[in-house]
C-alpha cells in the first residue's frame, strides 16, 4: 500500500501547485485589478464623438484609395475610361501638357485603370498610333500590373508563380518605357515608371544613378520621382538606411521652398525607424525636419497634387512630437482620404488613421479643458 500512497503523493504535488497559482491570481485581481477595457473603450468612443463634432469622418467613411480628393474633372475622366471611352483621357493629358507633377499623377491614375482592363487603351493606341500620352499610360500600366502580380507581401510570402509573372511583366515593360521616353523626349514620367522597374528587377546602384541623371535633367524637383527613387534607396529594396537618408537630405536641401521635397527625410526616417517609443522621433534633427516641412507646406501651391501626402506625414509626426494642436490642423485639412504614408502600410488604413486622429482630438480637448475651467 505504501507504494500507492507514494504515487498519490507524487500526483498531488502538481495539482496543489496549480490550485495555489489560481488562488494567487484571483487574489491579485481582487486587490489590484488590471485596467478596465470598458473604460478604455468608453474613452475611445468619447474621442470619436469629439472628432465627429469637429466634422471629422469615422473610419468607415474614409476613402482608402486616395490621399486626397480628385479634381472633379479627373473623376469624370476616370469614370469615362472605365466605361471604355478613352477620348476624355487623351484630352486631359493634352490639357495638362508640360506640368510634369500633374502629368505623372494623371498618367498613374489612368494606368491604374488600364492595369485592370486595357481595352480602352488598346482602342486609343489603335486610333492614334505613336501618341506619346497613350504610350506613357501603357508603360505605367504594365509596371503597375507587374507589381499587382507580385502582390504586397514580403518576398518569403510571395510564390514562385508571382515572382515569375512579376519579372516577366517588368522585363516586358522596359521596352514600353523606352518607347514612351522616345516619343516625348522632354517628359520625365517614363523615367518615374522605370524607377519601379529598377526596384523590381534590382538595377545595380550605378545604373540607377544614370537613370536618375536622365530624370533630374528633365525635372529636377519632381515629387513622385523623388518619392520613387527614395523607395529604391531604402534598405528593404536596393539601398540602405544611410543611403536613403543621405538621398532624402540632399534632395530636400537642394529644393526650392514649396517643392514639398522636405517630405523625403520624414519618409526616410519612417521607413527605417523600428523603435517602439517616440524618442527617435523627438531628436533635434527630427524637430528641425518637421519644422522645415511645415514651412514647405505653407509655401507650396495649395493645389499641388502631393501636398495632402505631406500633410498626412506632418500630422503623424506633429502628434509624435506632442504638438497635437498643430497636428489637428493638418488632420482637418486632409480628413476623408487615408491612402497616404504612414497609414497605407497597414491593412486597416482607415482604422489606424482614425485611432491616431482621435487620440490627437482627445489630447487637444484635454489641454483645452483646464484652460477653460
Amino acid at each position: 500500500m505504501t507504494v500507492l500512497f507514494w504515487i498519490l503523493g507524487v500526483l498531488a504535488v502538481p495539482t496543489l501547485l496549480f490550485v495555489l497559482w489560481l488562488a494567487w491570481v484571483f487574489l491579485k485581481e481582487l486587490f489590484n485589478p488590471s485596467p478596465d477595457e470598458d473604460a478604455e473603450a468608453a474613452e475611445a468612443a468619447q474621442a470619436a464623438q469629439a472628432a465627429e463634432k469637429l466634422g471629422l469622418l469615422p473610419a468607415e467613411r474614409q476613402n482608402t484609395d486616395l490621399a486626397a480628393p480628385l479634381p472633379a474633372e479627373w473623376a469624370g475622366v476616370l469614370a469615362a475610361v472605365r466605361g471604355g471611352d478613352w477620348l476624355p483621357a487623351a484630352d486631359l493629358l493634352a490639357s495638362i501638357g508640360r506640368d510634369w507633377e500633374r502629368r505623372s499623377w494623371a498618367a498613374y491614375l489612368l494606368a491604374e485603370c488600364a492595369a485592370e482592363e486595357d481595352a480602352w487603351l488598346l482602342a486609343w493606341e489603335a486610333v492614334r498610333r505613336d501618341d506619346p500620352d497613350a504610350a506613357v499610360v501603357r508603360a505605367r500600366s504594365t509596371v503597375i500590373l507587374a507589381w499587382k502580380l507580385r502582390g504586397g507581401q514580403r518576398a518569403q510570402y510571395t510564390t514562385g508563380e508571382q515572382f515569375d509573372a512579376f519579372h516577366r511583366t517588368l522585363a516586358g515593360a522596359r521596352e514600353e518605357v523606352a518607347r514612351a521616353a522616345a516619343l516625348n523626349p522632354d517628359d520625365p514620367t517614363p523615367y518615374v515608371a522605370e524607377i519601379w522597374v529598377a526596384l523590381g528587377l534590382g538595377y545595380p546602384n550605378a545604373r540607377m544613378d544614370t537613370l536618375w541623371e536622365e530624370l533630374t535633367a528633365r525635372a529636377p524637383h519632381h515629387y513622385e520621382a523623388h518619392f520613387s527613387a527614395l523607395q529604391y534607396w531604402c534598405a528593404k529594396w536596393r539601398g540602405s538606411a544611410r543611403q536613403a537618408m543621405e538621398f532624402a537630405e540632399r534632395a530636400a536641401a537642394g529644393a526650392p521652398l514649396g517643392s514639398l521635397l522636405t517630405a523625403l527625410p520624414l519618409i526616410a526616417h519612417f521607413e527605417h525607424d523600428d523603435s517602439e517609443d517616440t524618442a527617435a522621433d523627438n531628436t533635434p534633427q527630427m524637430l528641425a525636419r518637421v519644422e522645415a516641412a511645415l514651412a514647405d507646406a505653407a509655401a507650396a501651391d495649395p493645389s499641388h497634387p502631393r501636398l495632402p501626402e505631406l500633410r498626412h506625414l506632418l500630422a503623424f509626426y506633429l502628434h509624435l512630437q506632442d504638438r497635437n494642436e498643430a497636428a489637428l490642423e493638418q488632420f482637418k485639412l486632409v480628413d476623408g482620404y487615408v491612402h497616404a504614408l504612414p497609414w497605407r502600410y497597414r491593412n486597416d488604413k482607415a482604422g489606424y488613421y482614425c485611432r491616431v486622429r482621435n487620440t490627437v482630438v482627445g489630447e487637444v480637448a484635454a489641454q483645452a479643458a483646464p484652460a477653460a475651467a
Binding site: 507504494v3 488598346l122 499587382k148 502580380l149 502582390g151 510564390t159 508563380e161
Partner: protein
Amino acid sequence: MGATLRALRALVLLLGFYLLSLVLLAALIGLDVLVFSWGHGPLTAKVGFVTVLLAIPVVRGMLMLRTPKGEDGPGIPVAEADEPRLWALVRDIAAAAGTRAPDRIVLTGEVNAAVSENPRLLGLLPGPRRLYLGVPLLTGLTEAQLRSVLVHEFGHFTGGDTRLSALVVRGRVQIGRVIGQFHEKADDKVAADRARQERKSAERVARGKKAKQVDTTGVGATYRTMARIYTAYGKFYLRASLSTARGQEFAADLTAARIAGRDATASALREIPVLSASHDFYLESYATLGLQARLLPPRGEFFGGFGRLLTARELELADLRSQLPEEPAGPYDSHPPIAERVRRIEALPADGRTDEARGAALALLSEPARTLAALEDAALADELLRYPRAAGWEELLDASMAAGLTTAQTPLHRALAGYTGQPATLPALLDVIDDGRLWRLAEKLPLSEEAAAAKGRAFREFVRPVLRRSLRTMVLAEFSSRSLLHWEFSWSRPASLRLPGWGSETGEGGPEAELEAALEAALADHPDTTRLRALLPPATQNA
C-alpha cells in the same frame, strides 16, 4: 591512437550495446517483480505481457551475432585471363600499398571503387577479398587517377583499418537492426489500431451515426521510446568512431599521393564527385531516355554513351571540378568533405609526376566494347533487357519524344475536356479561342490561390505561361503525329526541336520563331489564331 587502442575502443563500444540491452532487460524484469509483488489479477497479467513483448526485440538484437553476409552486387567478375592488364595493375598497386591483392575483381555499373573483405573470427583472421570497380569510373578517370583511387582503397588495409572496422561495423549494424525492429513493431501497432478504428467507424456509419475521425496518435509509443533509447546510443557510437574514420581517410589519401602521385590523387578526388553527378545526369537524361517508349539504346551504349557525354561536356565539367563540396555528405558520413581532402593533398610538395599515365583507364580493359555490352546483361533488370533496341541515339530520341507527345495530358487538355465535354483536341481548342472564350476556358485550369483571386489583365498574365506550355505541347503533338517533327540529338546540349521549314512564309527567325510568334498571338489578350492555323498541317484546319 594506435591500432590496438582503436580496437579496444571498438570492442568497448560494442560491449556497451550489450550492456545497454542487459540494463533494459533488468529494468523490465524489475518492473515485473514490483508489479507481481504489489499488484494483483489482471494488472499483473497485462504488465507481464507488455514487458515480454518489449523484451523480445532486445533479446533478438543481442543474439544476432553475425553481420549479414554482403552479397555480390550486380556486376561481372573478371578472371585474370580475361583482363591481364587490369589484374597486373591491381596486383602492382596492392604490392606497393603493402597489402594482399584481391581474390576477385568485379566490374559494376556504378561510379564507385571499393575493396571488401569478409574477415573471420570477429576480424581476427583475414577472409576473401573483392575489388568492386565501376565501369563508369574507368570511363571517366585516367589511368593515373585510377591508380590513386585504388591505392586509397588498399591503403585502408595497410593501416589495418578494415579488419578492426569489422567490430565498428558490427555494432553499427546491430544497433540499426534493433531500432528498425522497434519501429516496425510500432508501425504494425499503428496499422492495427487504425484498422480497428476504421472498422468501428464503419460500424457507426452503418448504424446511422457520424463517423469518428481516425486518430492513432500515441499508439506504439512504448516501442518508439525503446527505439529512441537505442537511437541515442547509436548516435553516440557513431560520433565516437567518426573522428577515427575521418583520420583513416586522410591517411589513405596520403598513401595514395605517395604511391600514385600528388597531382593524380588531387585530380582524382576532384573528379569523382563530378563523375558521380554527371553519371546521375547521364542515366536520367540519356541512358533511360527511351523507357517511356519502351526502348533501350543500342547494345553496349547504355554504359558506353557516358564517355561521349563526358567528352562533349568537357567545358562544363571543368567548371564543376573547381566547385568542391565543402560539407560532408552527412553528419555521420565517415568521409571528410572532399574540399578539405583536396586541400590537404594539394598542400603537399610537388613530386613532378604530373604527366604520368594520362591515358583513359577504360583502355586497360582488353575489349572495352565487349565489357560494356556484357555489363548491361549483368546490371540491368531482366524486364528492361527485353525492351527492343533503338538503331541509334538519334532514333531513340525521336521515338521517345514522339511517345511523350502523344501521351501528354497537359492541364489544358483536362480544362478543355471539362469545358467542352468532348475529348480535348487541338481543332476544338482553336475553335474555343476563335469564339472568344479562351479566358473562360482558362478559369478551368488548376489555379494557384493568387491566380484565382486575380481579375482582368492580372489573371491573364498568371495563366498565360501554363497556357503557352500546354498549347505548344498540343501543337507539337499534332506535328509529331504526322511525322513532321524532328529532334536534334546532342551530347552537349538539351535536345532541340527541328520543325519542318514552312517554305517562303517563314520569317527571319526560322520556323521555331514563327511558331513562338503564332503561339503568342493565339494567347494574346485579344487572341488571334490565324497565324497558328496557317502553320498547322491542312488536316487540322479542316477538322
